[in-house]
């Protein structure tokens, strides 16, 4: 019987000819990524680890350290890396949000299993990788043993067809899907179709990343020439792409007409079944705009923001925060002039970190404030006060809204 993309990867890594929905398999994990939070007060040095070459350490959530507690994680991480000879170490200066750092350093490889202590590890699905966010205890266990288990969940397939209109991004595709189909807990999501080639890598990353917001297990994309070119540019070679079998079994196949999509916005509280086209929202004033996170702090996101903001000014009374997804993205965006355009508009460009997305540092919102974010979650209290309202939209929509002072369709302020 045919297998879906994720079934193929998990069967391969479990050493099995095939797997079916419901099976529990023990798999070899190809790459395990620890983040700075892992090295906090609960950190214990292991007696031994499985394989230092299959491990990476990325400083991202709380760097440079906003608290003494977080500052203490740095030396613990550095000592661990030195003691065990871990080469894939991205310390402050080479840091960035782990999913961005994983991608730009070629650690997410097609057909492989990647585990990391952050729930958005499904981001690696953009690169045909079985990426899964796991809790710190489980990541610790994989670090020691090199293995973990998965129960094979049913797969929902999205057939992407057509071409998106200008100013419609991966965020808009995701918000449309989340609004139309709702949550998918204990399901895998698989993306492919005749329209896939028209969707650039950064948009695929946004869509894969946000599988977490519909509660899905894995979110994976097919391998095509766009991905192959990206992998080549990142030095990734000798990989085994996992393509679904033609007779794979899906719990649903959903056809998505990309031509029909427009910019979307999600209302506060949850992402699923909570959105509408930006063109239909009432006049909603904002206090803060945020462009950043593993979902939307990529170079192309900053390029879009710069394009919208160039020669314009952020509205009086509005703060616009822009957080590049990594130090490498920051430097490249600086070289290309994007950060100049963004800062000239009155926006604040921050250090690369998970910071504002999880309400931890650099951009926490206060009671009664309204934030429009292009990050990952709009849950109550996510970005600071539980009395703040968090709307979610694409970087283009956030930038256009920051100029207008209220939630605005980017097509109305751009040509």
């Amino acid at each position: 019987m045919g297998m879906t993309m994720i079934e193929k990867i998990l069967a391969d890594k479990a050493g099995l000819a095939s797997v079916s929905v419901g099976d529990i398999v023990v798999v070899d994990v190809d790459m395990t990524v620890l983040i700075d939070m892992q090295f906090g007060t609960q950190w214990k040095r292991p007696n031994r680890i499985h394989d230092p070459d299959k491990l990476a350490v990325v400083m991202d959530h709380a760097v440079p350290a906003p608290t003494i507690r977080d500052a203490a994680a740095g030396p613990a991480a550095r000592k661990f890396v030195a003691d065990f000879g871990i080469e894939h170490f991205y310390d402050v200066g080479q840091h960035g949000i782990c999913h961005q750092v994983i991608a730009e350093n070629g650690l997410a490889r097609p057909g492989e299993v990647l585990a990391c202590t952050d729930s958005h590890t499904c981001a690696a699905g953009a690169y045909n990788t079985a990426g899964r966010g796991l809790g710190p205890a489980e990541i610790y266990s994989i670090m020691c043993t090199g293995k973990t288990w998965f129960q094979i969940a049913p797969t929902i397939r999205y057939e992407l067809e057509g071409v998106t209109a200008p100013w419609v991004s991966g965020k808009d595709i995701f918000l449309h899907l989340a609004n139309t189909y709702g949550d998918a807990p204990n399901f895998n999501l698989e993306y492919g179709g005749s329209g896939l080639g028209g969707i650039p890598m950064h948009d695929r990353r946004t869509i894969a990343t946000q599988g977490a917001e519909v509660s899905a297990d894995f979110s994976t994309f097919e391998v095509d020439s766009v991905l192959r070119d990206y992998l080549t540019s990142r030095g990734v070679a000798d990989y085994h792409a996992a393509q679904p079998d033609p007779d794979a079994t899906y719990s649903a196949v959903r056809h998505v007409d990309l031509n029909a999509l427009e910019p979307y916005v999600a209302r506060p509280g949850r992402v699923s079944r909570n959105g509408l086209p930006v063109s239909q929202i009432e006049k909603q004033k904002i206090d803060q705009g945020f462009i950043g996170s593993c979902a939307n702090g990529q170079l192309e996101d900053l390029e879009i923001a710069a394009k919208v903001l160039r020669g314009k000014a952020v509205a009086q009374g509005v703060r616009l925060l822009v957080t590049p997804a990594s130090q490498a993205v920051y430097r490249e965006a600086m070289r290309l002039g994007y950060l100049q355009d963004i800062a000239d508009s009155g926006a604040v460009v921050t250090n690369s970190t998970c910071g504002a997305c999880f309400g931890y540092h650099m951009g926490v919102v206060g009671p009664g404030e309204v934030c429009l974010t292009s990050s990952t979650r709009n849950f109550t209290g996510r970005m600071g006060s539980s009395e703040a309202l968090i709307f979610m939209a694409s970087p283009a929509t956030v930038a256009a809204s920051a100029i207008a002072g209220y939630i605005t369709d980017p097509r109305s302020v751009t040509t």
Binding site: I24, M37, T41, Q42, K44, R45, P46, N47, R48, T67, R69, T117, D118, S119, G133, L134, G135, P136, A137, E138, Y140, S141, C144, T145, W149, Q151, A153, D183, P185, N186, A212, E213, S215, D217, R270, F358, G359, Y360, V364, R377, F379, T380, G381, R382, M383, G384, S386
Partner: protein, 167 residues
């Protein structure tokens, strides 16, 4: 293998996210202090009312969100187990890996009301509402997961396996 828990239940709704249980500001605290903020916005004051041995019952999509170790906070509060109509898979794994028993029970929030006493046995999937007398069974948990819970979670298992020094 028997993994059983019995206690007073607290019933919550659907799609409780991890920010509602382990908010960003609580990540800056030690676990005993952080635990005082579980459900801080959904049900203020709950952490003063919950007692050791109590059970949390929730609706669909329980635990959507982050990988942050919410189960450690429940354990800190003395919660004996989690029951939900549907779990987010990461949240479910985190419970098992922390050694916190968890059962998926469709219609759990219809079967149980706040203050009922519930009895759950993961080893054979049976459950019973001691207050109303309702009872039934769900699929048993796979032995591998039962074994992790019975060992006290994956960190304890690593101690047993020699990967981690014992405290």
């Amino acid at each position: 293998m028997s993994v059983a828990f019995t206690g007073r239940v607290w019933v919550f709704g659907d799609s409780l996210d991890t920010d509602a249980m382990y908010p960003g500001f609580a990540i800056k605290m030690d676990p005993p202090e952080a635990a005082k903020h579980v459900f801080y916005e959904v049900r203020p004051g709950w952490t003063d009312e919950v007692s050791a041995g109590d059970i949390v019952v929730a609706g669909k999509n329980f635990g959507i969100g982050s990988s942050r170790p919410v189960s450690a906070l429940f354990i800190e509060l003395g919660v004996a187990g989690l029951v939900a109509e549907e779990f987010n898979s990461l949240f479910f794994r985190n419970a098992i890996n922390a050694g916190l028993p968890a059962m998926t029970l469709p219609d759990a929030t219809g079967i149980f009301s706040d203050g009922d006493v519930g009895a759950f046995e993961l080893g054979d999937g049976t459950w019973r509402n001691e207050t109303t007398g309702a009872s039934g069974a769900v699929a048993k948990l796979p032995d591998m997961m039962l074994d992790i819970i019975a060992t006290g979670g994956v960190m304890q298992r690593l101690v047993v396996q020699g990967y981690l020094p014992a405290d």
